[in-house]
Structures are given as structure tokens and as C-alpha cells.
Amino acid sequence: MNEQEEKRQARLRAMREADSRADGDIGRPAVVGAPAVAEQERREEVPEEVVFEASHLNLYYGNTQALHDINMKIYRNKVTAFIGPSGCGKSTFLRCFDRMNDLIDGCRVTGELRYGGVDINTINPILLRSRVGMVFQQPNPFPMSIRDNITYGPRCQGIKDRKYLRQLVVDSLNEGALYSEVKDRLRSSALALSGGQQQRLCIARCVAMKPDVILMDEPTSALDPIATKRIEELIQKLKEKYTIIIVTHNMQQATRVSDYTAFFMLGKLVEFAPTSEFFSHPKEKASEDYITGRFS
């Protein structure tokens, strides 16, 4: 830690102490430091529940190593953003969480990834994927009705109760912030929806499986700014119930929606930090160069 960083930390400590001393004192200024700082302080006080933990994780496509010794935690009810230049391994790492890499020929993983403390390789992949949902860059609704898109997964799990399914459609579409727009055409094709609506349908479809974690790989990069804003607001709401990991190339999106940011380069995790810290005081030079656009 350099001298300036030490001073900064000392100020933060002093602020925190002054803050706790002044508790309940109406006279003090309402805002001491940015809200981001206050939030970060709280974070330090309450230990967070770890949902996923990667330790010494390596991934190979054939003979090429795509991920190098990744050590990282994913926290419950938080949004974690993965950022980094194209090809750095964000999608590859994301696919580890639902074991989608298992389906790729020649792909091999070493090290450990634990879900709720359990090695994910010991969990039935089908079960794992019902707990860990994925939303892709290109909205990919099934070529069936809006309603059937939602009920398809639960039906495959053997749920037949029509009343339950009817309610599930309403609830999931509400959670996907789509219900009011489609409530009169639940039986029409999902492919007739706009791109932004399709993406929200995909989120609703994911939510209908009652997952624990939602993975999103550049979920808004095919959408216009308004549709993007709706999805971002939705993510903020969803994190109250779910743990979210989002890959994004849009750094403003990362600052808007995420609590933690992980920055990758060439298959390595360069820095992991609270998002507000990461974008204001990155610790690594490579991170600073990347976010300030001086990366070459």
C-alpha cells in the first residue's frame, strides 16, 4: 500500500468513527462522503454470504489455456460484473458456473468451483442448471407462445398443476417487467415481440425456474438505450431475490448495476473489488489503463 492509499484508508476510518459517534445526532450533515462510500462501509461490517467460490481454477480448450488460476467469490444478492477486453475469458468463466463448458468438446477444468460450499462437479448438471439460469446476448425465446416459453421449463420438470402454472406465468412476467405489455396476448408467438421484450421474456423464463443465481452474458448489447435501461432497472430489482453475474462491455452499465466488479485480461483475474472502489481507485495499473481507455 502506498502512502496516499494509507492516508485514504485513514480518512475512511476517521469518517467511519466520526459517523458512529455522531449516530442519532440530527445536527450533522446528512451526507458524509458519497453514498457509495457509505455502502461500502456497511459491506465491511456485515459479512456476506458466499454463493460461489472459485479456487485455483484453470480452464483449457484442448491445449490452449483460457483461464489461469482464478480465485474469486460471488456474494449472495449482489450483482457481480465481469469486464475485460474481448477474448479475455469472461464468457468462458461464466459458463463454468452452470457447467455449460462440459458440453464443449476438449474443454477441461482443473481447480475447484464450489456452489454453497459444494464442488459443482458433484452436483447433477441438470439440477445445477435449474438453480443457475443463463440469459444470453441475443434474446433466444423458444418458437412458441409467450405463455409456453414460461411454462416449458417447469413442465419439463414435471409440474402439471394448471392453476400453479397460470399463476407462474403472471408472476414471472411481472418479475421480468413484461406482464403489462403482453397480458392480452399470452397465446401469441414470442417471436413477434420486440428485441427488448424478448430479452425480458428470457429473463422471465429464467425466473420461472425459481433459480438462485442468474448469469447474464452481455444481456443488453443487442438492445437500444431504452430497452437497456429497462433491463438495468430490472436487474436492480432482481438482485433482491437472486444473485446475479453479468458480463458487460459497457462500463457505465457495470457502474450502474453492479456491486462488485471483476476485471479479466488474457484469462487472468486482474482485480476484484467493490464497483465504486474499482472505478474510482483501481489498485492495478492494468485496470486503470483499461477503464480510462489507455489500454492498447
Binding site: 480518512r11 458519497a34 481507485h281 477503464i291 480510462t292
Partner: protein, 217 residues
């Protein structure tokens, strides 16, 4: 222009403002401290300072509009946007001192002037401003912190001069008009020191994100 060039342009414009206001201030104070009928050397005015301020503001805002700035860049742009106001104010006070001096000269007397003590305050304030500027230009946080630490000393010098002036007024050594305009000059000097402190504090912010005792980002 890329971002680095734009940041350099803003820095250059601020330095131009520094030297304009510094020279403006020097001339005002020479005028104030002179005892004869010297005329004010009026080749600099605050319109030039204001034009620089507009440039700095316009560039900072245009960067914020076009670019998404993070980390050190964000602190630099917002810090400059804050401290440009302080430089501009110092320019205003240079003009204020000149105006007050004109009033004083029209009274036709300088017998109440405590030259040594006033000169001491003037030197002290000018050094603070110079150091604040050097701290900013060289990115020297230690120097900036030192400038900020001199706040109280200026206040003490100011209080003492003021008390002295009050005593002289009560004793009838100086007229009420003289006392009022002189106290204004003291006040402007004290304000200039405050702005120098602000510049120093924003320099610290640009470097590490905290301002006074608060971590802003």
C-alpha cells in the same frame, strides 16, 4: 484531440489563469502599498481571467459529455472544474483591492497604514497562492497540504491588523472612511488565502479522492 491532450489543454489554460491573476494581484498590491500618486497599471483585467474560466469550464463539461471518465481522469476533470472558480475569485479580489485602493487614494492620506504588518500579510498570502499553484502544477500533494495548513496563521494576522485598525479609528488617528476601505483590503487578502487553501485542497482531491476530511470518491 485525445483525452490526454484535452487534459493538458485544461491544465495550460489554468496555468494561464494563474499567471494572469497573480500578475493582476501583484499590480493591485503594488498600487495599494505605494504612497504617492502612482497610477494603476491596467494592462490586465478580469475579463481575460473570465475568458479562461469559460474555456476551462467548457472543456471540462464537454469531456464529461463525450467521454466516460473514470478514476484519475474523473478526479482531474471534476477537480479542475471546482478549483477554476477559486482562481477566478482571486482575480475578482485583485480588482476589488484595486477599487478599494482608488477610494483610499481619493481620501488623500496613508498615514494610518501599518506598512510592515500589511506587507507581512501580503507576502504571506502571495506565497500561499504561489505554493498552491506550484502544488497543483507539479501534482505535489505534500506542498498542497502545507498550504492548507497555513489557514489559521492568516486568520491571526488578519485579526491582529483589524484590531489595530479599530484602535486607530477609536483614537481618531484614521477616519471612518479610511478604516472601512482598509478593512476591506484586509478582508480581500484573507479571502485570497482561503481560495489558495481551496486550490490546495482540490489538488489533494485530484490526487487521491478526498477533500478536507471527507472521502468523496
Amino acid at each position: 484531440m485525445n483525452l490526454d491532450q484535452e487534459l493538458k489543454f485544461i491544465g495550460d489554460e489554468l496555468e494561464k489563469m494563474f499567471s494572469l491573476t497573480r500578475e493582476f494581484l501583484r499590480r493591485s498590491l503594488v498600487y495599494y502599498l505605494s504612497d504617492g500618486s502612482e497610477r494603476f497599471d491596467a494592462r490586465i483585467d478580469d475579463a481575460m481571467v473570465n475568458a479562461c474560466e469559460r474555456n476551462v469550464e467548457a472543456w471540462c463539461l464537454s469531456i464529461l459529455l463525450r467521454e466516460k471518465v473514470y478514476a484519475a481522469d474523473l478526479r482531474r476533470v471534476t477537480g479542475c472544474l471546482k478549483l477554476v472558480t477559486d482562481i477566478e475569485r482571486i482575480g475578482d479580489h485583485a480588482r476589488d483591492i484595486k477599487d478599494a485602493t482608488e477610494k483610499l487614494k481619493s481620501l488623500g492620506t496613508s498615514q494610518g497604514l501599518d506598512r510592515a504588518a500589511t506587507q507581512a500579510l501580503v507576502d504571506f498570502v502571495l506565497r500561499m497562492y504561489d505554493d498552491a499553484v506550484r502544488g497543483f502544477v507539479r501534482y505535489d500533494v505534500a506542498l498542497a497540504e502545507e498550504v492548507a495548513s497555513h489557514d489559521n496563521e492568516v486568520d491571526e494576522m488578519y485579526e491582529k491588523l483589524l484590531a489595530d485598525l479599530i484602535a486607530k479609528t477609536k483614537d481618531g488617528v484614521v477616519s471612518a472612511e479610511y478604516a472601512i476601505y482598509t478593512s476591506l483590503v484586509y478582508k480581500y487578502l484573507e479571502r485570497i488565502a482561503d481560495h489558495a487553501v481551496n486550490i490546495a485542497e482540490w489538488t489533494v482531491f485530484i490526487k487521491n479522492g478526498f477533500h478536507k476530511d471527507t472521502v468523496i470518491i
